[in-house]
């Protein structure tokens, strides 16, 4: 769907900042989230989880639990089938362990009872005999040939010899002659990096309410980023037809990628089937940390060569990501994103995905990209320091632009990197003075952005209002953006449009809300659905006027004769056409279905100022500015919101957030007290600068904006801290003991 080139368009409502349609519901406490729904006769479900990192399940005795008064169903893997499809089998095995428990917190049984208290009591009565196995949680340790094997037979052929079977897959990207490139360099720096696993940290724990009656018809209410994908997974696991399972997405209390798969939903449905009653499961915060999908942790080697003037001559990255106990493909994203910001003659990235005894990773905002780009941007910064070059000027000198052959294959179309860097360079933040113990860091960020399967219905109501039915849960204000685009295209006020998120029985398939795809893809489909409704409305006006359909145009929310030759008729508004639709052919609607491409990549640049306490290693963020290309900011408040929220998640990742495992393989910080997400008093204001370089693949030029902002903070802060203390840190998080240790070693 091409950018409307003819439209040196003056937008009327797109780009304005109206109140979000779900605002009042959310500020009054009326909005219904995953845990807020109840059903008559509902039971409470609870899940038994492994206390061990790795163990064979010798036996499970559920008889005492079943005998407890109030218990209506107990399930284990024996109550599930074994799906033929490997992916589905992995999803199921992650929800309910079969044969082995693969990580601390892995589910292996569940009960449904008349109250939460009884369910909890019943869990304590399930007797499990475990044979404890050796475990591994570190990525480098898991790759060694003698490492404990998490799952046998999961390694693909392209993994080279000499590695543990925990290494499931390998990938490689790049172009050019590396040796020749490094030969041209005046300075080559090679460094190794590690980053800890982090969690999305959404405030709403996973929750669902499932019913499945004897005739195989089911209903599932859950907090998810993709009700259609939940249906696919649950119908596959339960062995029921998609049409028989209606999945409704609740309001969602944060996801950031972590609610793109299922953890409790198939369990609740299985309990509902076995008990014949609706079953609700709500995860505790501890369960969320132990048994949902944090990010990968990584170990990386980066080598970059640069000339004295700052031109990068060659670049190489080796990325090793552990994604928990089941195979994943996250390193491919990192390997493709690592050098995306640079126009390079010689570049190579290699990636290895690795199994460990940790929960299976799930997407987290630009999955795979932040750690790789952190490592690359750290080395680029160190090169600039050693060559005494301005880090922004160096990035501008090497910046990818339209026509650049990207490091991962495609040739870039219009992109906003250069404009974003120039905006940062011109901003007062970049030249503001710094005091002792303070440092300024910068980093570029990148995300591909997704399109994908999308389906929108747009109904013209007879009173002149418009209803839009779309299929993607609203995680960042998308209902407002979609309504704005419909209002823009139809030429009516924003408040005449209401957008709702449909259940799986009310609309065709929509991909998950992920990869920053919704404002782009659903927006595009909404614009096209509006255009198809406009065509119908023009036809109705033509009919009323008795002229040819192609002699009618749509302008300012009205059908008008195309010119003087078409006849002299006063314009008919949308409301006027809608009011008489029953007499002119019936209801008016537009719809559009597409597997959208052309999402248009996204670049951002962040500037961070920090002050480090030289006696304690504590880092305070003093000032922070985000520069990002949004293509077209449909609702600028929520574009800024994405930029600010992503930046703060990245700040947490850089400074304090991490999964901490003990020598016993158990997670030690499964709670918000010791998993330290930033609190309000940790932060300054997050300033934002939106650039608008239209995406050629969208009628209004829209690009996704949600992922990119989590990418730059890691290196921006690492570069700032390193400059503040005069010594480089190559590991995240930069928790105070590490920073103080570096300061004391420096002397």
């Amino acid at each position: 769907m091409a950018f409307d080139q003819n439209s040196k368009r003056i937008f009327k409502v797109v780009g304005s900042r109206p109140p979000r349609p779900d605002g009042v519901e959310k500020v009054t406490g009326r909005a219904l989230y995953g845990a807020d729904m109840t059903a008559p006769g509902m039971l409470s479900g609870a899940i038994l989880r492994s206390p061990h990192a790795h163990a064979r399940i010798v036996s499970i005795d559920t008889s005492a639990a079943e005998a407890l008064q109030g218990v209506k169903a107990v399930v284990t893997s024996a109550d599930f089938g074994v799906p033929d499809d490997e992916f589905l089998r992995d999803v199921q095995d992650n929800c309910m362990a079969r044969g082995k428990v693969l990580y601390h917190g892995h589910a292996l049984g569940a009960v449904a009872a008349t109250s939460a208290a009884v369910a909890k009591q019943a869990l304590a009565l399930i007797v499990v005999d475990y044979e404890i196995l050796p475990h591994v949680t570190d990525v480098d340790a898991a790759m060694r040939p003698d490492a404990p094997v998490v799952q046998e037979g999961r390694s693909l052929e392209n993994v080279g010899p000499g590695l543990s079977q925990n290494v499931t897959s390998y990938c490689e990207f790049g172009h050019g002659d590396l040796d020749a490139g490094f030969d041209q360099a005046d300075l080559i720096i090679s460094r190794s990096f590690k980053t800890a696993a982090t969690h999305q940290g959404y405030i709403e724990p996973h929750a669902c309410l499932a019913s499945l009656s004897a005739d195989g018809r089911g209903d599932l209410w859950c907090c998810t980023q993709g009700q259609f994908f939940v249906r696919t997974l649950c119908a596959g696991i339960l062995g029921i037809e998609a049409s028989q399972l209606r999945v409704t997405a609740s309001e969602i209390g944060g996801g950031f990628g972590g609610k793109t798969t299922v953890f409790i939903e198939p369990v609740a449905l299985t309990l509902a089937r076995k008990s014949g009653r609706p079953v609700k499961i709500v995860m505790s915060r501890e369960e969320v940390f132990k048994a949902t999908g944090p990010t990968v942790s990584s170990s990386m080697d980066i080598k970059i060569g640069m000339t004295r003037e700052g031109r990068i001559t060659a670049a190489q990255a080796q990325l090793r990501y552990q994604g928990g106990a089941f195979p994943c493909g996250t390193v491919e994203m990192g390997a493709q994103a690592a050098f995306a910001a640079y126009d390079l003659a010689a570049v190579q990235t290699q990636g290895w995905n690795v199994l460990t005894n940790r929960p299976k990773e799930a997407a987290y905002r630009a999955p795979g990209a932040p750690m790789a780009i952190y490592a690359v941007e750290s080395v680029v910064d160190e090169l600039c320091q050693q060559l005494a070059l301005d880090p922004l000027a160096v990035r501008l000198m090497n910046a990818a632009q339209k026509g650049t052959l990207s490091s991962y294959g495609p040739t870039f179309d219009d992109i906003g990197l250069r404009a974003t860097l120039e905006a940062a360079q011109a901003h007062p933040h970049y030249s503001a003075p710094l005091r002792p113990n303070q440092g300024r860091g910068l980093s570029c960020g990148f995300w591909f952005n997704f399109g994908g399967n999308t389906c929108v219905s747009l109904n013209i109501n007879t009173d002149g209002t418009v209803g839009i039915t779309e299929g993607n849960p609203d995680i960042g204000g998308s209902r407002a953006s979609i309504s704005l685009m419909a209002a823009e295209e139809l030429g009516i006020p924003y408040d005449k449009v209401r957008t709702i998120v449909a259940d799986t029985s009310s609309l065709g398939y929509n991909d998950v809300t992920d990869g920053s795809r919704v404002t782009f893809s659903v927006g595009l489909a909404t614009i096209e659905a509006a255009r198809s409704a406009i065509k119908v409305m023009c036809g109705r006006a033509a009919r009323i006027w008795g002229i040819e359909e192609d002699a009618v145009i749509w302008e300012d929310g009205c059908a008008k004769p195309a010119g003087p030759n078409a006849g002299a008729f006063p314009p008919m508004s949308l409301a006027e056409i809608a009011a008489v639709s029953a007499n002119t052919g019936g209801p008016i609607a537009g719809h559009f279905e597409v597997n959208a491409d052309g999402a248009g990549v996204s670049f951002g640049v962040h500037l961070a100022d920090v002050e480090v306490d030289p006696e304690t290693g504590a880092t305070k963020v003093l000032r922070y500015t985000v520069f990002q290309d949004a293509g077209k900011a449909v609702h600028p408040d929520y574009v800024e919101g994405q930029m600010q929220g992503g930046a703060v998640q990245g700040i947490g990742w850089a400074l304090n957030e991490e999964y901490i495992y003990g020598a016993d393989g158990r997670l030690q910080n499964a709670g918000f007290l010791d998993y330290r997400t930033p609190v309000a008093s940790d932060l300054p204001n997050i300033d934002t600068v939106i650039l608008e370089i239209p995406n050629p693949g969208h009628p209004y030029g829209v690009r996704g904006v949600g992922e990119t902002p989590i990418v730059p903070p890691l290196a921006a802060l690492s570069n700032a801290v390193s400059r503040a203390i005069g010594v480089r840190l190559n590991e995240l998080p930069m928790s105070p003991p590490k920073v103080l240790g570096a300061i004391m070693q420096r002397g």
Binding site: E286, E615, T616, G617, A618, L655, N656, I660, Q668, N669, F672, L673, D674, R676, P678, V679, S681, D682, S735, P736, P737, L740, G741, M744
Partner: protein, 287 residues
């Protein structure tokens, strides 16, 4: 689980003494409810002490203040007299948890929870605070310093409860301060902490001092050598350096998810030095 809400401390002590199962005292509840949620404790009896007369009050006594066991951090912070006399104790109590937790959490609960990282305990020990205890056999007073027995344990015997802590009167030129280190600015547990209470004579020389460290040993540590390093000085750099060295020598911390031995030891000294300077400044302003 039974829930009881006695009207007197004696009744509370009897309930606690007579319970054959596990009994827990409920004041602010900010520790016990977390432990119940985590399944760490499953009490058979919870004794809510908030209906006991005076237990929620702050009273003047002999020039000092008696702080009821159910007085929350927020209440303490609103009391101008205590804030003026014991600013270090108040700032320590006010570091326990969020605004929400401050609405409930009490210093006595913080003390009885037995955490080596409890914020208010170093400040109370530095203040020479005395706990008043009611038990099945009557009432006794005990220095706060003698209450902690180790992580999660106290020296209180079955049936005993602390009903108040007493903060003594202050001479001219006396002040205290408390600092802790946490990775975040709020919502965190002390990785190391230090409380300093000192008195300056008319010449501004330190004539009395107590230096106490938290989170660097199984119990709160009163470092006499650190105090000795300050007494008789104006807290000049050599005196502070000696105090820091004494503090670090007194540390016997552990490595855990919140910090390392080396970090805790290093930072405890830094905090003690900074707290001493703050206390000195406060004392100077008062003298």
């Amino acid at each position: 689980m039974r829930y009881e809400r006695p009207q007197t401390a004696t009744q509370a002590a009897q309930l606690l003494a007579n319970e054959p199962g596990l009994a827990r005292i409920l004041a602010g509840g900010t520790d016990v409810l977390v432990q119940m949620k985590a399944g760490m404790v499953t009490p058979d009896l919870v004794v809510d002490i908030k209906k006991i007369a005076q237990i929620g009050n702050i009273q003047s006594e002999e020039g000092g203040y008696r702080i009821g066991a159910a007085v929350s951090g927020a209440q303490l912070g609103e009391h101008a007299g205590v804030c003026a006399q014991w600013p270090g104790v108040v700032e320590a109590a006010q570091l326990i948890g969020s605004t929400q937790v401050q609405g409930r959490a009490t210093m006595v609960g913080n003390l009885c929870n037995g955490s080596p990282a409890a914020d208010s305990v170093p400040a109370l020990v530095a203040a020479n605070a005395v706990a008043r205890i009611t038990g099945p056999n009557g009432t006794r007073d005990c220095p706060v310093a003698d209450i902690p027995a180790g992580p999660g344990r106290t020296t209180l015997t079955k049936g005993e409860l602390i009903t108040s802590v007493f903060l003594p009167a202050r001479p001219q030129g006396a002040a205290d301060a408390y600092l802790r280190f946490t990775p975040r600015t709020e919502m965190d547990i002390a990785v190391a902490s230090a409380a300093v209470s000192l008195t300056l004579d008319a010449q501004g020389r330190c004539c009395e001092a107590r230096v106490v460290l938290g989170a660097v040993a199984p119990r709160v540590v009163l470092v006499a050598e650190a105090a000795a390093a300050l007494i008789g000085t104006h807290l000049e750099p050599p005196a502070l350096d000696a105090m820091v060295a004494a503090c670090r020598a007194a540390c016997a911390p552990i490595d855990d998810k919140r910090g390392t031995v080396a970090f805790r030891t290093q930072v405890a000294g830094v905090l003690a030095k900074r707290a001493a300077v703050i206390a000195q400044t406060r004392a100077g302003a008062k003298s």
